[in-house]
Symmetry: none
Subunit: 404 residues, 2 copies
């Protein structure tokens, strides 16, 4: 990012505190009957009051028209370019189930598959075995396979036919071709290193592939082998303390968001399972950090379910609890989402979504409600999500002047 | 910049004239008592009338959240990328005091410092000696040190402990490490060439360092040596005549802005010290140029002083004199600033600031006032300052079609 060239010269640590509230999937589309979006329908007096006293705008998660997954959506909110800094699918799978990853570990998505003894892939999902069966197989494999060529191998159940694999050891690099032929009736593809640094990873995975087949040969299950996908490592990026001189904390209920926050070096506050407990945690840790990422998940889940009314309700619930942040003092607050999840679409979408920035140095504009159409009139205009962190740093007076 | 790839093919010289009015630090923040910004408070009928008849918008000086110094602020307004094209601090110091610089000269900021005979830096500012003492020392040194290794050395007083040094000669490059240890009680750092081209500059500076110490050894002053900082050269860029085919003039009252204008090849119109005299100069030279950069300084100075009322007054004064530009014919006029300087902050800031573009080919929008919040509603939206020059060229019909 262009910021990288100048940030080290202008960033400074100060006492001011920054709060980033992410209402996951907050943006929506009009209800076909009422013509109003979820936010326009909801009674959200606190968010509206905040919008009225803040600078508002719309934020584009990645690029116009691009619908982000949770990874890119959050990486952008954390001030990294979501296209330059991609988190591999193996890493995301591990983060999603809360598996800790070290900088040098290799993370892989695994599919249990039905594979014939002569290596033909008969069913890429092993008949979508039940999660319980997956757990039994994983515990059997974990018993038999602990180390290959000096590399520690761990296998974790995700669900149904899906698992995650972590390789821990020296000299591992992730540029390795996958064995998944993508089509059934085809043989397993050979696992090859795509650069010389990745030879060892390829060797370990080839051995793992055959040891798994050997171990499952006589077991009563459709899972007869493993397809390796999304072979990856944590991205090599500067974390929040080095990049922004921030001591940062993540308050979230789901492993995925804690995981992405961990990738950028945030401390993870554990034990939150409701919005109420998240706000409680924020109050509790307020004195110990200078950056807080507060993630509210359910707005997204109900959007994905296509449940317009439930999404409205959860927005109202969030609004009630969020009012408590008024009791705490922040140099700058942003309230936004990582992407839109319109109930109408039952999925993430590319639509720009509301953003407000509250600070003593923010010009309040004409926006009176925290909605898509109102925020479109705001003084911040339309920005990209990756810019938000730099605005927060500016509004919290943590950036020196660039150039004399 | 992306424009560089196509500009040479589409730029053309024409008779139309362009005026760029820069109200330094024009943007502001709401007064805590009234809720109105400086521009919203000021009676500026001419600027408002211009806004009403123009296309308006907000301009981001560098990047969202980045507060520019005068160098990057103006380089962007002149159509160069302010991150790619950085002006070194030594060059800015020279420009700020009006020292002429050639393309191949090395410019350096100097600090007179108290340095022990065994090279320990005791006081990096030599007790902030008075400017008069600085002048005496500079004249003594200038007497004794005129040339080193065939390179012409000139030293200029800036103020207090600060001076500027210019090296003129062949084969000089600025990639040289600084001798400033940054901390007191530490020895001078060795001056080293950071690339092979810069060996000669390093040699000259090492000799200059010891000759200055020798010359000041027995003088009754705390200044016992020189710290060299911001060793730099003019940026290697195309000037206005080559880049834009424009014959351009700068009307400004302060050396810094004349200096930056000179970097991009403008002719400097000397002898202006008030807004009135600047407008007079514009009328006088109107026939001789096709691009005019008119810089009004005091809006920034009063912002930096935190003097809200004085900033309002100077905006009103500028408004009165600027009305005279209506008598002259321009193909395109832009009125904007290089950055905001809110009185509330007593400093430059990152906030986007008002911009209007007036031309027979500009669509007047709903904006009725030349203010931050009104211009936010304008048809130009939010653009980056580095785009303004290309818009001016377009509105003045100096750009051909790109592609067939």
């Amino acid at each position: 990012m262009e910021y990288d060239k100048i940030l080290p010269d202008i960033i400074k640590a100060t006492d001011s505190k920054i709060l980033l509230v992410v209402l996951d999937g907050v943006g929506g589309l009009p209800n076909i009957e009422t013509g109003k979006t979820e936010l326009e329908t909801a009674h959200i007096p606190f968010l509206d009051e905040m919008a009225e006293g803040s600078s508002c705008g719309l934020t584009i998660p990645v690029l116009s028209g691009i619908t982000p997954g949770s990874g890119p959506g959050h990486i952008a909110l954390f001030g990294y370019d979501p296209i330059e800094t991609q988190i591999g699918r193996g890493v995301l799978e591990c983060l999603g189930i809360g598996v800790p990853l070290g900088r040098d570990d290799i993370a892989i998505r695994g599919n249990f598959a039905t594979i014939s003894p002569d290596r033909i892939v008969l069913d890429r999902r092993a008949g979508r075995i039940a999660t319980e069966e997956n757990q039994k197989i994983v515990s059997l494999l974990s018993e038999k396979i602990k180390e290959i060529a000096g590399v520690n191998v761990s296998i974790y159940t995700v669900k149904e036919h899906r698992c995650a694999i972590v390789l821990k050891g020296k000299g591992l690099h992730p540029s390795v071709s996958e064995n998944d032929p993508q089509k059934e009736g085809q043989p397993l593809k050979p696992i090859k290193a795509l650069d010389s640094q990745s030879e060892k990873t390829a060797e370990v995975l080839r051995k793992l592939e055959s040891q798994v087949m050997e171990a499952l040969k006589d077991v009563d299950t459709k899972a007869k082998g493993l397809l390796f996908r999304g072979i990856s490592k944590l991205p090599d990026i500067k974390g929040f303390s080095e990049k922004y001189k921030l001591h940062s904390a993540c308050i979230a209920t789901y492993p995925m968001y804690k995981g992405v926050a961990k990738v950028v070096g945030m401390d993870i506050i554990e034990g939150c399972d409701t919005i109420e407990s998240e706000i409680g945690a924020l109050q509790e840790i307020y004195n110990r950090y200078d950056f807080f990422f507060l993630h509210i998940k359910k707005t997204d889940s109900y959007g994905e379910d296509g449940n317009f009314d439930a999404k409205v309700k959860i927005l109202e619930e969030a609004d009630t609890y969020l009012r408590n942040i008024k009791k705490m003092k922040f140099g700058a607050i942003a309230i936004t989402g990582d992407h839109s999840t319109p109930s109408l679409m039952r999925s993430h979408s590319w639509h720009p979504l509301p953003l407000l920035i509250n600070s003593p140095y923010a010009i309040p504009d004409d926006v009176k409600r925290f909605t898509e159409r109102e925020c479109a009139k705001g003084i911040l205009g339309r920005i990209h999500s990756k810019e938000i962190m730099y605005l927060l740093l500016a509004y919290a007076l943590k950036l020196d002047k660039f150039g004399a």
